[in-house]
């Protein structure tokens, strides 16, 4: 028996990203280990931006290798679990050079998205 398609439409993905203000962002470090953080985020007109603390080591890793995976999800109840897994490339802006307290902004060019909505599961 094939598994049901529980992916969301493009519009639903955009809507979830638009109402999400925190995401999990991960990359691969220079040592080959995955590394990740929670980051404040915004999404407007298809542009995904994350903001990380200036002392968060993920900024340096993303500046070195911009391949990034971002997770945004929500789960008020089991059948309201929805999420987006966005693969893309990160461009790191700001922080460090002028002021150690300045947040670092990460623009994410999304190449590919997978999504899920447990409300589409048979129940």
């Amino acid at each position: 028996m094939s598994r049901p398609d529980i992916s969301m439409s493009r519009g639903e993905v955009d809507a979830l990203l638009g109402r999400c203000d925190v995401l999990a962002m991960g990359t691969i470090g220079a040592d080959g280990w995955p590394t990740a953080t929670l980051a404040r985020c915004s999404y407007h007109d298809g542009a995904l931006r994350a903001t990380v603390d200036p002392d968060d080591p993920i900024a340096g890793e993303l500046a070195r290798d911009g391949r990034v995976c971002c997770l945004a999800d929500e789960h008020e109840s089991y059948y309201e679990i929805r999420g987006v897994i966005a693969h893309g490339r990160a461009t790191v802006h700001g922080g460090g050079a002028i002021d150690d307290d300045v947040d670092i902004h990460v623009d994410i060019h999304v190449d590919r998205v997978t999504s899920f909505d447990f409300g589409r599961l048979p129940h």
Partner: protein, 130 residues
């Protein structure tokens, strides 16, 4: 990390060297994290190819706060895991779903990984919106 069930984000390395992450429910136990996935899933394949993981364990009382942990994931006993998933978690999972997961564990369609935590970064909260 206290023992119990928690929401987390699991990040692994794909064979092409790129990252991929998954929202998960993890069972914290004695300093390790256990989770289940389908044996045929891409996630299982990636973990059996490269066992290095980073998990962000989300604070139950504050979803903007998470603890990052790193460790090696290894397959572990599925039957024992099925008994550990009873209890309060971040989401109230319907009984029928729990029963299905348990059946898939006992029939070997699902497998369980245990992450022995080698390193961690203290919990941090994301900054306020600008």
């Amino acid at each position: 990390m206290d023992d119990g069930i928690a929401a987390m984000y699991l990040f692994v390395r794909r064979p092409d060297g790129s990252p991929i992450g998954y929202p998960m429910t993890g069972v914290m136990r004695c300093g390790s994290i256990e989770f289940t996935t389908y044996r045929k899933s891409a996630k299982a394949r990636y973990l059996l190819s490269d066992d290095r993981v980073c998990c962000i364990v989300v604070d139950a009382d504050d979803p903007t706060r998470g603890t990052a942990v790193w460790g090696h994931a290894e397959p572990t006993d599925a039957a024992a895991f099925a008994d550990r998933t009873r209890g309060d978690g971040p989401i109230d999972v319907p009984a029928a779903v729990r029963d299905t997961v348990r059946d898939r564990l006992l029939t070997d369609k699902r497998m369980v990984f245990r992450v022995r935590v080698d390193a961690s970064r203290p919990a941090r909260r994301v900054g306020a919106a600008s």
